[in-house]
Amino acid sequence: MRTFRSVLCGAVLLAVLACKDTLLVPNSNNADRDRALGTAADLETFIGLAAYNTAHNATLAGSNDDLQTQLQVMGLENFSGLANFAMGPRGNVPRGLIDNQPNGTGDAGNLRDFTVGHRAARIASIGLDKLRTVSLGSLAANARAKAFAYFARGVAFGNLALAYDSASILSENDATQDIVALSGYQAVMAAAQKDLDSAIAVTNGNSGSFPLPSTWINGQALTAAAFIQLVHSYKARFLARVARTPAEAAAVNWNTVITEVNAGITGDFIITMSPSAGWDVVWPAQAFATGSASWHQMHQFILGMADVSGGYAAWLALPRSGKAPFVVVTPDLRLPQGATRAAQVGDTLRAGFKGFYVGATANPGRPYIRNRPAGEDAPQDAFGFSMYDYFRTRAFFGATPTRSGPYPIMTISEMRLLAAEAYLRLNNFAAAIPLINASRSDPNRGGLPAIPLTVADTLTDVPGGAAACVPRVPDIAQAFKGTKCGNVWDALKWEYRIETAYAGYGMWYFASRVWGDLPEGTALHWPVPNEEMLTRRKPFYSIGGVGAPSGAAKGNYGLFSGGVY
């Protein structure tokens, strides 16, 4: 019995010892809020590394399903018939609706951008909230972080307002689990502008706290002045592109756009991409990833505008099913030169790839676009099938490691042409035309005849003569089955497209929306994802389609059934 008691004592002892704090187990894999933001340095790191990076990733770094793949095919910036990432369905004409239902086509991309965009805004808001109680060590440091958080949140709101019909306007006053009400895109854009203005204001009052650490925007140790310029440029982009229709665009305060552009960047704004460091831009380069043109082609409807051989007109005249790739013979030096495919292929395949930059310096090299060897063709729907690929991204993709190095997310060309557009809309042709000619007639870029400064209307053809003008556009008088010389507006749009291709988030789509150039029925924005609506216990809805209120009207260039196709 003594042994029995000993065993019992041992058992009790074991039980007592094993009970001591046993069930308190920390999660050493992930930090919670207290640990993540526990120190001033951590808080600054959180704001600095996460806020803008997430906003950037929300738009340009989605490796698979995201909106960028859809935006590019909808804006005719890219073309692919593959089902992957909804490229085929979104790029097809006639346009269908965005079937915003669980498991709907492209649903993953819709949810992804909406979620990550809000996450960027929430990260910034959490940072702003913490800054009210935690000091980073100095007022200057606090101000810099605060300005940066406002900036990142403003960019996140701005991009959400561009892409979605509504979004949540988050604030540093929200509780963690709050479901913030949805606001329309105009209200979201207003919030973006307000945050961006706050960023400028805080920076102006604390310029001594700059430059930014170069890791906050990778490779950019921005001074206060440079930072403010960047903020102004974002403001300009957002203001000019938030409109859904030409009518809404007409209501934009274009004078403000000019003001913002003038206060904005003075050179391409580039990020040193480094995927392993979290800075990436995927789709402009990913288009080449498989080596197959089935993932990417340049749409011949747009490229054809540079053609002076008559091939574009012939192509337009064919029924959709009869359309076939044609050689774009053009004096525009940004496209491969030559009258035959062989000649253009030869012109394209000079040693070395063309790129936006050589090192970090802007590269005037041409062409931007290549005519691929015939053996690399990947037949597509005849409407989009072409022999051309975008080429300035090739060096970037071929870099080691891939997709590393400088890449523009906002170009001075974009800003210049936004200003040009603003001047045109304000009927200040004299101010607009030099801005258009800056790339159009630059011998290192377009090399096209300059538009005379005397042009003061939208009726006059661009120079070059009836047979050699660039751009040529589908002629409404010929029921879009033939071409005519474009006017100054067409020249602006051609310049904008060729200069901004693959250098930002949905560049052609947002611009085409404002200009009224989208194919009929193209959704004018994305609905709030069905997953989010379900979480909010609200019905989800679809957007777009021919004849739908939220679908684009018949395009200026005949992009509707019975027109070009």
């Binding site: 042994t3 058992a11 069930l23 498991n103 037949p379 389609g545």
Partner: protein
Amino acid sequence: MTHSRRDLWFGAIVLAALSLAGAGRALAQDAVIKGRVVSDRGEPVVGANVFIEELRLGVNTTNQGTYLLTVPSARARGQQVFLRARGIGFKPTSKQITLNTGELTVDFTLVYDVNLLQQVVVTGVQGETEMAKIPFALDHVDAAQMSVPGQDALTQLKGKVAGVDIVSASGRPGAQPAVLLRGPTMINAQGRSQDPLYIVDGIVINGNLPDLNPNDIESVEVVKGAAGSSLYGARAGNGVIQITTKSGRHAADGLRFNVRSEAGVSDIERDFGIARFQGLITDETGKRFCEFVTGQPLCARTFDYQTAVDRANNQPTDWAGQTPAIPFDPGATIPTTVPSISGSPLRERFQIMPWPQTAYNAVAQTVDPHAHSNTSLDMTGRFGGTTFYTSVDQYSEAGAIRYLQGLRRYSFRANVDQVIGTNWNFAVRTSYSRNSQDGLWTDGGNNAFFRLTRVPAIANVLATDTTGRIYIRPNLQQGGQQNENPIYSFQNVGRSDVANRFIGGITVQYTPATWANLSANFSYDLRRLTYFQGQDKGYRTTGPAAAPTTNNGTVFRGASGNEALSASLNALFKKDFSTDLRTHATLAYQFEDRQTNFSQGQGNFLTFKGVTTLNNVTQNFTVSSSFTDIKQIGLAGGVGAEYKGRYILDALLRRDGSSLFGVDNRWRTWGRVSGAWLLNQEPWWPVPQFSQLKLRASYGTAGGSPQFSAQYETFGIATGGIPTLGNLGNKLLRPEIHRELEIGTDIELLNRYALTVTYAKSNIDDQILPAPVSASTGFTQQWSNAGTLQNKTLELTLNVPMIQRRDASWTMRFIYSRTRSMITKLGVPPYFFGGPNQGNTTMFKAVQGEAFGTLYGHRFVTTCAELPAPYNQDCGGTASSYQRNDEGFIVWVGSGNSWTEGITKNLWETSNATGAFGVIENWGMPILIRQNGVPSLLPLGNALPNFQFAVTQDVTWKRFTLYALVDASIGQHVFDEGFHWAHLDFLSKDVDQVGKNVQNAKPMGYFWRTNSADGFTGLGGYYDQLGPNNYTVEDASYAKLREVSLSYRVGPIGGRGDWTVSLIGRNLYTLTGYRGFDPEVGIAGGEAGSAAINGADNFVFPNLRSFTVAVRTSF
């Protein structure tokens, strides 16, 4: 080591020391009882236990069935005692004797317990209990019932226990089967498992059982639901499978050796039907293919396929060279019109042309029967109070795929039992195993088995270039990575997974009095896995340009560990208030600490060829690691009573604390109350032919736990060390509660025929689900208790000993089960979910009122009622605009036409611009059901079977033994993803139209994409999109001849040993209408977390068939 674990070790040492202090008595002898135990067929019963319970003395019989029991003189005082005899597989018996000094001979004849009613079981019960007195369903499977050893402990349970769904979803050697007991229990199993709790010799295992040597198994016990598993509390909601390994406890004195060696080959039973014909455009000779050249007329340039293949592959580079563009290219997108072809080729062309050169079968070229071998040596012995069982085992299953080595496992076991005096018993169980395998990368999309489904018959996957390299691109089509030769990757992708596992435990049992039994257990389970996957520098790619990240090599390495430490204290007290009323009570304490960790790194661009270390990579280097620690404390108590041997009551409570929950939700109480009534024991029972008629009912609760991180708010680290928001934690999360009511009956007639019927209904409340959170929170998700899954199960087991004679016996065993799983409550918005791979990630829908496992996808119209009005009125007749074609689909044919007239009237070229669903309908093509123009997602079937059954035959005749098992799974559906996706390239066999006539032949477009309304340039068709539809979600019912063994007992050879020779077959034949490799298929992972649920045939390693010869002897 953490503080608490040090405490635990200390406690264990103290316990062991105390235990040893009480040991040390010596034996003496005076009375000798001897005799022989034989079966009712006259055979000696080896290893039977003859014992005197009152004295707690016993001995085992020898190989001749004899025994010798000595009783110390001090204990032999002329008293009356019962001498009992019990043998495994026999009904026990007893004889009353008077115990005096001197010699006494007592012989026994044991009756075969063909239904194992007297089998003592230990799982889920408060102490060792005979099966006949268990008040809930418990299945016991003896080693004798597993005469065909499986690759692992679970595989060989197939078809042996009703209500146990074991799916060998991948035939890859080393792959673990998925297990469901009475259906799924979790709507979302991410980061956890639908598998039951596994226990080996009382040691709760941390994870699965891939390392256990099946030859070591003595028995398996299965408790399938909370009604029986409450004893194990918070982790037992999925049921319990307990494995008892062999020991020497029943061994006779001395040593006994068993040697078993098995060798044979494995292959693959079925083929994946790749098309044998082609529809490409050729010149007028039919021998040369037309090349697509932009702007040039069709066939302006032609090429010879093999010449082009040779040219592309015979390149000095690490990538294949340029290939000609094929104008009508399977694998790439097809234009509505290829230039210079009039009309649409999709409407015009029929896949009927043979390939102009040698045609190959890529599957046949890939399958290469490999060796299957297993050699096992064990030694069992008894020396005084020490008994032991040790074994060494080598297992090799090389599989059947060229260049793969498969699985190799070496294992060692030592089980030792030591009796000291009459009060102490020590049991030590240890095992160590090492297994290695190489095929882990081959399954799934974009891997080798995916590419195997994309090989046209003209491609010779075994061709080599001038330097002996296997062609990287024997397939000229423009399909990207799918052009890569699967054989090349089998040969050149290196993979190695090496696992070392140690499982050890010590149990000390102290019996201070007949009414008390105290025990303590301390156990440790460690599994260390290291893995490597790499492609060496120079790995070839399909071109036509370099793929530097691959060409320069990749290395992926990692290591993971699962470690579990547990300790328990148990006390069992018995009290007989009278001869009629016997009671017992138990108390238990248990502590568990389970840790998992992994670290891994990868990168590419190797510096040196042939060096596989991580420091040989120079670019894209990434590392990751994780560590989790879960602790649990359990306190349990129970009581049980048996009245008059026919009324049995059992009740227990267990309170568990778990570190997986927030402070306020850590502790939870589980329990069970159950009872049994043995009607046949009633004096008034009028039918003596019932040797048992037991009614039983049990109600119990058990738990389900969340994944480790669920309670925590997490800030993640994105690529580049950038902070991000992850999981919105939930400290209020509660465990899932399994509440199960089970009723059943166990019937035995004439001591022979047995029938067991069980009905169970369980509600698994508080389902732990990842509730989507609003994007405005910035977080991704939050785990919450938000649903109920209900399972209703009917199980039936019938055991029919047809013949039971000494020279001949024939027993047939039949099991049947069906489970219905329903989501009866869902507190989150309905959502789609599925497997982990492209195309199947959203094949299920979670919605209240839905049968769990329902497959969703697009649906082609098959009945007129599915057409909207008024189109449904113009349907079904011979003159209707909509008619049913020979494949059962409703198609538009236009008024006055027949679906058979597509060719004769040239109707395939026509369309109905605004069809029934408002979009274009192409003549004769399947029509998708739509809403607002968008294809609807509709139920297509269920991935879980309607019912399962198995039939086992055991026949012995003289020296021959025949064993056969057929098991069947009926009514489950599988998304045949491989078959579905191959339609994109016209490579599914149904695209071939050879043998069809002008009435029923279909053009290629019939099998391709949906039409332009969906953004595609297709016309029909079966390929549709990547997700499931009702053409490729197939009834995957099957019946398999799972195991066959024909043995001949040779007996001693040269006076030595006892030899038996067996012919063994596994997975010999599958009866099914399924079109893929194997209807027994699925994919692990995803939200359902089990290959038994994820019914998608996603390019997995086909199941193996094996033929072997086994030789066994003992001496």
